[in-house]
């Protein structure tokens, strides 16, 4: 019996070793994508010169220093952190609703953030003289408000996963309709700005967006990480999690609020980005299983990888300018999801 126990422990250690290898491979792929993303643009740069400029710091004297440190690096880091926020929040929305189709997008949190941004754009709300700060803050407030609305609507019906999803769908329709109304009533120019905001555009990135989204991503991941085991237990279903002593209602509220802040941080600066929150967690689950200690960070890193890949493609397709990354994530996301569907059916 002692021998069996030892042998089986080795099996568990082997599973975790395999997970570490996969996680480190994905991190390496993301790092490569990040370097490539910085190098791609109207003036192409080799990876070696990108690394050289990064090594020299913002005070370096190469001609590319200004391009990388003032434009491309903040754009890449915003892209990375937005992907991280969307991947992580997508995973948690799926976990707490126990619904593999749930995502920030399908639950209406993204639509509410869009509506907040649309109000700011329509009425020219600026904070400290900056319109983009007003847009980001209203997007954040609306997505938080919508998330709490979804939560309390769900709570009135006993906070089951189904009612949570249903409340989310109601929110999605409600805010989408309000945004359409705003666009319909606005002048052609304003309607155009709102419309372009909903595409998800990295050209709005700057060091402020890096700082804000980065801080939100790090705090959010650390908060969620402390509930890893409880969230893993929740994948067995609500009743089994409660039977193991998990306060599911409290956990759902905490995770929902953190996810909403992450989503708001992500879409507040660059606009709506679809599919990342849906695809990244599915890929991570397929590769690593359901242990949230691995699933949580890897969902985020895969979200970053998907965003960076989309950013590279968008720059390559538009030859110097930049297609809105939100359009590319959907196009890249579809084959991803299709392959996943085929694999899971097998």
């Amino acid at each position: 019996m002692r021998k069996d126990t030892k042998q089986s422990l080795t099996i568990y250690e082997r599973i975790n070793r395999r997970r570490w290898i996969i996680a480190l491979t994905i991190i390496a792929a993301m790092a490569c994508a990040a370097i490539i993303d910085i190098g791609v643009g109207s003036s192409k740069m080799e990876a070696s010169s990108v690394l050289e400029v990064l090594w020299d710091g913002p005070d370096g004297d190469t001609p590319n220093t200004m391009i990388i440190w003032a434009i491309r690096l903040p754009m890449m880091l915003t892209c990375l952190f937005v992907g991280l926020c969307l991947g992580v929040s997508g995973l948690q929305v799926q976990t707490i609703t126990n619904n593999p189709l749930a995502s920030p997008y399908t639950l209406g949190i993204t639509a509410s953030a869009s509506f907040g941004a649309a109000i700011s754009i329509t009425f020219g709300l600026s904070i400290g003289g900056y319109v983009w700060i007003g847009t980001a803050i209203l997007a954040l407030l609306f997505s938080l408000g919508a998330s709490l609305g979804i939560f309390f609507l769900g709570n009135m019906r006993g906070m089951s996963a189904n009612t949570l999803v249903f409340a989310g769908i109601i929110m999605n329709f409600f805010f989408s309709a309000l945004q359409q109304y705003l666009q319909y009533m606005a002048s052609a120019e304003v309607a155009q700005v709102i419309s372009s905001w909903t595409f998800g555009n990295l050209s709005r990135s700057n060091w402020t967006s890096v700082t804000v989204v980065g801080i939100l991503a790090v705090i959010g991941v650390l908060l969620l990480a402390q509930w890893s085991w409880k969230l893993t237990a929740l994948t067995m279903g609500e009743e089994r999690a409660i039977s193991l002593g998990v306060d599911v209602e409290r956990l759902r509220l905490q995770v929902f609020v953190v996810s909403a802040v992450l989503i708001a941080g992500a879409v507040g600066f660059i606009g709506t980005v679809a599919f990342v929150g849906l695809v990244a967690p599915h890929c991570a689950k397929l590769l690593l299983g359901e242990d949230q200690r691995f699933l949580l960070p890897v969902s985020g890193i895969l979200g970053s990888l998907l965003m960076l890949t989309s950013s590279i493609i968008s720059k390559l397709l538009s030859h110097g300018s930049m297609l809105p990354v939100g359009i590319i994530t959907s196009i890249v996301g579809v084959p991803f999801l299709f392959v996943l569907l085929m694999k899971s059916r097998r």
Binding site: M1, I15, W229, T232, M236, G237, I242, L244, G289
Partner: protein
Amino acid sequence: MLSLQLEHIMVRYGKRIILKDITVSFCGGEMVAVIGCNGAGKTTLLKALKHIVKYSGSVSLTDETGQQYPMQDIAYVPQLGAVETRLTVFEIVLLGLVRNLQWQVTREQAERVMAMLTKLGLESLSDRSIADLSGGQKQLVFMAQALVSEPKVLVLDEPTSALDLRHQLIVMDLARQYTEEHQAITLFVVHDLMLAARYSQRVLLLEHAGIRMVDIPEKVLKSELLENVYHVALDVERNRAGFFNVIPLRPI
């Protein structure tokens, strides 16, 4: 000796009363079968013990000195339904220790899980996904999950439903062995009256949200009483091995 006391337990869903004035106590080393018609409140009673449903009244778990045990010492195994998670068997059993798990699983925790899996003959399945197992294997894994934390009270909701005969006996033997070894209390809901009689020291018969009778199997498994509760004509007899046979004849 361990003692579980339920006093004036009442559960309502809106205006509907699901359980009313349940007062009963159980002692260590005892297995109690909870039987009754559909809707009598059997599952609700188990869920109330684990605070899964809201109730009025009190539940207390004490030892002979009167020392109170926390309600976390009650392990509940829900009825086996669809299992959609892809967690491995090892992880499922490990989650039985979820309240004490830190980021890193300790050597002691991992060994405890493996010892439980080995005891139940599940060690060869430890790296398999729970979703790939048969119904009987899944139920054994969830039993292992409940037992790994060494609870004082084991609460099983229809542990044998959807299991073949062999697995029914394996699961119930496991519950009995645990109850005897740890002088724990096991409550199990079961529709099979023969299993109820075979594996219990006492049978709790629920009817219309209340207790109709709680007593040794010989006194509860009387054909007149069961016909009156279940509205089915039936024969109750003992077979050569000494076990009760309850043979339903026709609805009344």
